[in-house]
């Protein structure tokens, strides 16, 4: 190895490790700021109480946990079938030229800032729901629709890759025994791409859990456990972003503790997604 190569290698190693170091610092910082809170308030009162009233010393985030859960579930109900259908069409049915145009278009969706999605939700979806379905409009439904569209690029591109990774020979074999296109897709291609599709769903879920700006704008941010699709709702990420600006003392720690909960949830989702991808490789 020449000297120049060694220098280049050293630089790349430092740069590569620095992103890992940033992750380590973030973890350290969130836990350092959040940990004292668990000692002071206790895990049961934090995770199990429904009363969030920081000014009076009540820090129950159960409504936010439920909020994140319902909004994410709603987003998946909207986004997964749409994304799966879109990926299937692009990979199996669309003429090559059409796919070459459509795929980049779907990916552009990922580049639209979330505040734009939120704004469209706020000015179009929220009034529509308010006027036609009742309630204040800011709701689980509005957030699910907006998030459902926002997770499409993730869902489509990962599912598409998984479908493309199915060997062409499988399809040819099916056609050779007289199966039609639809039978080929449902009985061979989809099962073969199963783990990749699951991974796509889980990564989309991670995106939905983590999205903040758009959700703040359309969810209504009420600290209740929603009992209807039309109820307003607050997610874990919204809780942090909404109140970070002014929080001090125990309130601030409670927001970091919310971050710890979020971190654990997203970490678990990523590990889950990775394990599916690894299974596919085997």
């Amino acid at each position: 190895m020449s000297r120049k190569e060694r220098i280049a290698e050293a630089i790349l190693t430092v740069v590569g490790l620095s992103s890992v170091a940033v992750l380590a610092l973030i973890i350290f910082f969130i836990f350092r700021e959040g940990a004292p809170f668990f000692a002071e308030v206790g895990l049961a009162d934090f995770l199990g109480s429904t009363r969030w009233s920081p000014g009076k010393g009540h820090f129950g985030i159960l409504p936010m946990i439920a909020g994140s859960f319902f909004v994410t579930l709603g987003a998946l109900v909207v986004g997964v079938p749409l994304g799966l259908g879109c990926a299937l069409y692009l990979s199996e049915f669309a003429p090559k030229r059409t796919a070459a145009v459509l795929k980049p278009l779907v990916e552009i969706l990922a580049g639209i800032p979330s505040v734009v999605f939120g704004f469209i939700g706020l000015t179009v979806i929220v009034p529509l729901i308010r006027d036609h379905l009742g309630g204040p409009g800011f709701s689980v439904l509005a957030s699910s629709l907006v998030l459902g569209v926002m997770i499409l690029p993730t869902m489509v591109s990962i599912t598409y890759d998984a479908l493309r990774a199915v060997p062409q020979a499988y399809r040819e074999g099916m056609l050779a025994v007289g199966a039609d296109k639809w039978q080929t897709v449902t009985s061979v291609v989809l099962p073969a791409a199963r783990s990749g599709i699951l991974a796509a769903g889980i990564l989309s879920m991670g995106r939905a859990v983590g999205e903040t700006m758009a959700v703040i704008m359309v969810a209504g941010n009420a600290t209740i456990i929603p009992t209807s699709l039309l109820d307003p709702v607050r997610t874990l990420t919204s809780n942090i972003a909404l109140e970070m600006g002014y929080a001090s003392g125990l309130h601030r720690q409670a927001l970091f503790a919310t971050g710890v909960v979020l971190f654990v949830v997203i970490g678990a989702l990523n590990i889950l997604a990775r394990s599916f991808v690894r299974n596919r490789v085997r």
């Binding site: 000014g55 209504g220 941010n221 009420a222 600290t223 307003p232 109140e243 002014y246 001090s248």
Partner: protein, 274 residues
Amino acid sequence: MLRRKEILRLPQAWLLLCLLAMALLSGCAREGRAGSITLAGSTSVQPFAEILAEEYARRYPERPSVNVQGGGSSAGARAAMSGTAHIGMLSRELAGSERELTPTVIAVDALALIVHRDNAVTELTKEQIKGIFSGRITDWSELGGAPGPIHVISREAGSGTRDAFDGLVMEGEDVLPRAIVQDSNGAVRETVAGDPRAIGYVSLGLVDDRVKAVKVDGVEASVETVRAGEYILVRPFLFVTKGEVPTGVKEFMEFVMGEEGQSILAGEGLVRAK
């Protein structure tokens, strides 16, 4: 492999150099100023003080910079008494031993209760407002309006406007958890403007003709009634100092109380002190 000459021809390399140079130069510009003025106290006053400080630095780059910290009204008074801060910021009147400090009312914060323009309700008592926001009154028909559920719009915990509302109206009661929470005066106003069943509260200066401010206890919400002391949902924003202050601090106070500072504060939705 690129040789050094070739690297210098790359546009990216030049861009990077320019950015570096700019970063260095802006760093130098900041260091030119001597000393600084420290403000500490109410988190309600803090955002306004930060805007004042920014403008002050922009218009008078040669004067000492102004450094704004939070901590709360009581902490602000303590900091001014102990000398930790040059100016304490309070969003309430001075109390007890704090009275030895010299207060200056820099502006008055007034809250307006706003409803949709088509709402038939034009007047509410403070008790009714408290009832609505605590969840005891849930339908507009109870207030003389068209029947329909009341959509309560509130602000996030910790915001200055929410603090003012909690202190002036709720008096220790919780705002109902079902209330929609928006994260700015503007977002509350937009929501109320679009929803015929909504009620919310914003700083008086941010009421416009897309929404309707209701009378509170029979008094219209306006700069005149606030000045006359008739409108009840108000609180003063104070800058407090201790004894004789250094010239730099005096200059900053003159800026805040002068036309420049006062119009900045009015532009942010507060009622001028004079």
